[in-house]
């Protein structure tokens, strides 16, 4: 008999409409280096087919399985079971509307991402070939482009919990900064205009939960700080 892992998983069935409850499961430790997603898959495939969660690539690239694991946001697919205190409490991302079990409504999150207009904006005519970047200009994007929009940072931010309807949140602002620092983008002024708002941007009070939560080890607080500096620079 192999070692058993104890889990306590958040369950909510919208068709029944009852109060959400934590359900206990026991899963065998099937391989060394087993990840939390493997345990959830075992529950779904062997024990209880009705357990609902998002998953896709299974290796921290797609950002589907952002969950609250023992109180800390992270991706189930890259969180090793070994380092977790048992029973492992698995809950949906905090402050989000739960659709079912561990699945939350990400509409508002992605709408905020759309609000920062995450595409290249240019004024100059399209050149015959590519818009080139030097290696140094490209390096400016390091720490921004890796974001997979899993929502771990934004849903860990107290400012976003209180004012999520207006504060854009760390993920969207990290992406906003990604376009502001991009040497090929020509709409920095317009972007800063769109961000200069006491709620949209200045709700960030450097709590730094986002940095702690990010599974890709990015630093949204630094990105937000950079946006504030850019606005400061054009005012003073």
């Amino acid at each position: 008999m192999s070692e058993m892992i104890a889990l306590s998983v958040f369950r909510y069935d919208p068709e029944q409409g009852d109060k959400p409850a934590m359900q206990a499961y026991k899963v065998p430790m099937s391989k060394p280096g087993m990840k939390l997603l493997d345990a959830l898959n075992y529950i779904k495939w062997e024990l209880d087919g009705s357990l609902t969660y998002r998953r896709s690539c299974g290796e921290g690239v797609c950002g589907s399985d952002g969950l609250n694991i023992n109180g800390v946001n992270g991706l189930a697919c890259i969180t090793p079971i070994a380092g977790l205190k048992q029973p492992i409490h698995v809950r949906p991302l905090p402050s989000m509307q739960v659709i079912r079990d561990l699945v939350v409504d990400m509409d508002h999150f992605f709408d905020q991402y759309r609000q920062i207009q995450p595409w290249l904006k240019t004024e100059t005519p399209t050149p015959e070939h590519e818009r080139l970047q030097s290696p140094e200009q490209r390096a400016e994007l390091d720490g921004s482009y890796e974001c997979i929009l899993c929502g771990c940072c934004t849903t860990s931010c107290p400012s976003w919990w209180w004012n999520g309807d207006r504060f854009l949140g760390p993920a969207a602002l990290l992406q906003a900064n990604r376009w502001i620092v991009d040497s090929r983008d020509e709409a920095m002024g317009e972007r800063l205009d769109q961000l200069e708002d006491s709620f949209r941007l200045y709700r960030c009070h450097q709590i730094m939960n986002c940095m702690e939560a990010c599974p890709k080890e990015l630093n949204p607080t630094a990105a937000i700080d950079n946006i504030k500096r850019k606005i400061l620079a054009r005012k003073s």
């Binding site: 919208p14 068709e15 495939w45 062997e46 209880d48 087919g49």
Partner: protein, 238 residues
């Protein structure tokens, strides 16, 4: 290594009575498509070519078509029924007992195991023949499979079940196509036929499932570039 056959505009093509015809308004690009530039083999990756050349060509073609055909043609009144029936057939009969033999995950695991054991990198006729048999037996079990989750809100087990149906069809045509191709080409490496045979096998396999049976057909590879001379295929060496 395969895909939906398209022309160079990304339009899906099919073989009609008057030869190759394109299917108006239906497009395939990228991983899903097979424009046939790389011949019958896609080893080495053609994603850049797909993005830069055919992705763009397809986009241009879509715009061109939308200018001429501003609105969608009228849909058949009952066109939704097939899709709804497929979902309802899964949700209709649930596995209340929780037996694991007929659940989705179990069948999927067995399918994966067969494909791994019988259609991995190095293949022989004997191994593949057995694999096709095992796979067909397993595919016949699929209609017996039952969901345990009858919820109509965010039912991921239902999605897994429908994905399994698609995967099973793909596994069957992949297996049948591989068994029929008596040569080695690209990732299809046969121990019993180690050499590439361009005289007979430089052609695409067109597979379909009709009346529960896999049917194979072939079509030639496009080897004539439009503006330059073609260079003859050679043996690939490393």
């Amino acid at each position: 290594m395969g895909g939906i056959p398209t022309n160079r505009f990304g339009e899906v093509v099919y073989n009609g009575p008057e030869g190759e015809r394109s299917c108006a308004g239906l497009y395939a690009i990228g991983e899903a498509a097979c424009v046939s530039v790389h011949g019958a083999n896609r080893l080495g990756g053609n994603s850049l070519l797909e993005i830069i050349v055919f992705g763009r060509a397809c986009g241009n073609q879509v715009m061109k078509r939308l200018k001429q055909h501003r609105y969608h043609p009228a849909l058949d009144k009952d066109c939704w029924q097939k899709g709804v029936e497929r979902v309802e057939s899964w949700l209709g009969e649930l596995n209340r007992s929780g037996g694991s033999d007929c659940n989705i995950a179990n069948i999927r695991l067995r399918m994966q195991t067969i494909m791994q054991e019988h259609f991995s990198v190095y293949r022989t006729d004997e191994v593949m023949r057995e694999g096709v048999q095992r796979l067909e037996t397993l595919a016949a079990e699929l209609p017996e499979a039952r969901l345990s989750d009858g919820n109509r809100i965010f039912n991921t087990e239902l999605i897994e079940a429908m994905e399994l149906e698609n995967l099973m069809s793909l596994a069957r045509v992949t297996a049948a196509g591989a068994l029929a191709r008596i040569e080695s080409r690209g990732a299809h490496a046969r121990d019993d036929y180690p050499d590439r045979d361009d005289t007979v096998w430089m052609k695409h396999t067109l597979a379909s499932i009709r009346d529960e049976h896999v049917k194979l057909d072939y079509k030639p590879v496009r080897v004539r570039p439009m503006t330059v001379e073609s260079f003859p295929p050679r043996k690939r060496v490393y």
